[in-house]
Symmetry: C2
Subunit: 308 residues, 2 copies
């Protein structure tokens, strides 16, 4: 999908999972779609004004992180010991460089922390309290525990504990959020953010924070942001595997996406991705029952979707 | 390089850097070589008895972690706040699956922690105190601070602080340790462990713990363990990039290694790697002045090297 009369494109996701229409009230569906649309508006407006793709994906993800609806930032799910641990990354296709944070607990917008690591550290990925502190020193906004502790997420944790499962898919909502974009200069970028999996072991590092796993961008090739069974994304080097198929074997983007999703399924994983290639074409495939997503249609109008 | 009359092979490294003969006394060189040889003996003896490649690389790395000579386990360098933070991973080519720990502080052998995550968790990578605790619960040996605090490493930290640099290369020693092997069943495996970089920002996650960055193994293809400028290894998805060149573009292993080392240099990175392909051929290229390394020659005799 590509808008006809634009020199940019952007597509975003709010997580993939066992989503089905009967699990939502019309009001809930409306709220999800409105938030996705708001995130898209922020990104497209920046791109329309000549802003960079990196700026656009970051600001779109900030909107999703600020919403309690999605599993990232404010709406993050709980680990098994009732802590909030968030991961995020940015990936810049121009420099082929990433910045990420993992297991931050107080940062209001982990994606801004990831950008701070990208721009102002010599490192690719910082973890834990040290990462929180690195961001706090730079003046990035922190929030106390109550900001993140939504009743609904606590209830989900207790349900998961009862069933003794690490719950990736909630019947009502789940996931990671992410965005990929290309700007007028042909620069590709991606940004991804997650609150992880309900009842996961504390200290888990997710694919969301790892270049090549849940995220990747390289100019002249592709920008990718994934969502799903993150541990398998790491095992399979999911995002870079897709990029490498295109780069080294000339496999077309949609086929490369199908192949990495099949490899994911072979290991009992599931999920989806959003991607944009060097020509500005966007795809958003998934092998789950649904994926929160938003894109621009051929006329440049924002479209949103949740179910298959 | 491949031993003629063996159905297995193993090669290991103890870090790459600005190593030069005049920086070492003959006694020091002897100690390095003896430790590398000891690690090789442990690995080859296991393989000779029909042990798995995964077992062999882990036990070889344990020997290097237990030595104060190498920057892993006991000999780990200090981060800027004088803490020890260690990373390790194992990568199993049969399952194409990894386990890793990052920023553990008390675990005597981080590589055993990585194996524990691989075998007994649903996750790919655990970080920080939670990772230490996960390993402690399983009975893995922990050590107190004094075990890791070698005077020489503290002196290196103070030197680095004076110069205000994140010091990867020490004039006398540095690095990561790692091993790759293939066993009689054709299973490929790698294990890697590091104490990071002197004066690095605390909480940094290194390439050593990340599948596709500093480590990768896939049966029928390759096992890789890298050492060097870890943040660039992450940016470039170093290990999987090399594997993908071979898999998707049929680039021969030695050329793929040269290409990823050139891409590393293009970003002002340096380092080296050890790798074994599906036929059992081993390589150990580096673009630094030296790399601690050990391999089996054509007659199956253990050889060690440090300088170019």
């Amino acid at each position: 999908m590509k808008p006809k009369n634009k020199n940019y494109n952007i597509v975003l996701h709010g997580g993939a999972g066992a989503l089905a229409p009967h699990l939502y009230t019309p009001q809930e569906i409306k709220e999800y779609k409105e938030t996705l649309e708001e995130a898209m508006k922020v990104g497209t407006s920046l791109l329309e004004k000549g802003g960079s793709s990196l700026q656009a994906v970051i600001e779109s993800v900030v909107v999703l992180e600020n919403s309690p609806l999605f599993n990232a930032g404010r709406g993050s799910v709980f680990s098994s010991d009732e802590t909030i641990e968030m991961d995020a990354s940015v990936s810049c296709g121009e420099r082929v460089q990433t910045g990420g944070v993992t297991n931050v607990t107080r940062l209001k917008n982990p994606v801004l922390g990831a950008y701070h690591v990208f721009e102002n550290s010599n490192h690719a990925l910082l973890s834990g309290m040290a990462a929180d502190f690195f961001c706090k020193k730079a003046g990035l906004e922190h929030q106390n525990e109550s900001y993140f502790k939504t009743e609904k997420r606590l209830a989900q944790l207790y349900q998961a504990k009862e069933k003794n499962i690490v719950q990736l898919d909630h019947s009502d909502k789940m996931g990671t959020v992410g965005a990929v974009a290309i700007d007028g200069k042909g620069n590709l970028a991606s940004a991804t953010s997650t609150g992880g999996m309900t009842n996961r072991y504390p200290g888990r590092v997710s694919d969301t924070s790892i270049q090549g796993a849940g995220t990747y961008a390289e100019n002249g090739l592709i920008a990718i942001s994934g969502t799903g069974t993150g541990d398998v994304f790491i095992q399979n080097v999911f995002a870079y595997d897709m990029a490498a198929m295109m780069k080294y074997a000339d496999i077309p983007m949609p086929e490369a996406a199908q192949r990495v999703l099949e490899k994911l399924r072979d290991k009992n994983g599931s999920g989806g991705l959003v991607a944009i290639d060097k020509f500005g074409y966007a795809i958003f495939p998934f092998n789950t029952r649904g994926m929160f997503r938003a894109w621009l249609d051929e006329d440049g109008v924002i479209q949103t979707g949740i179910f298959e």
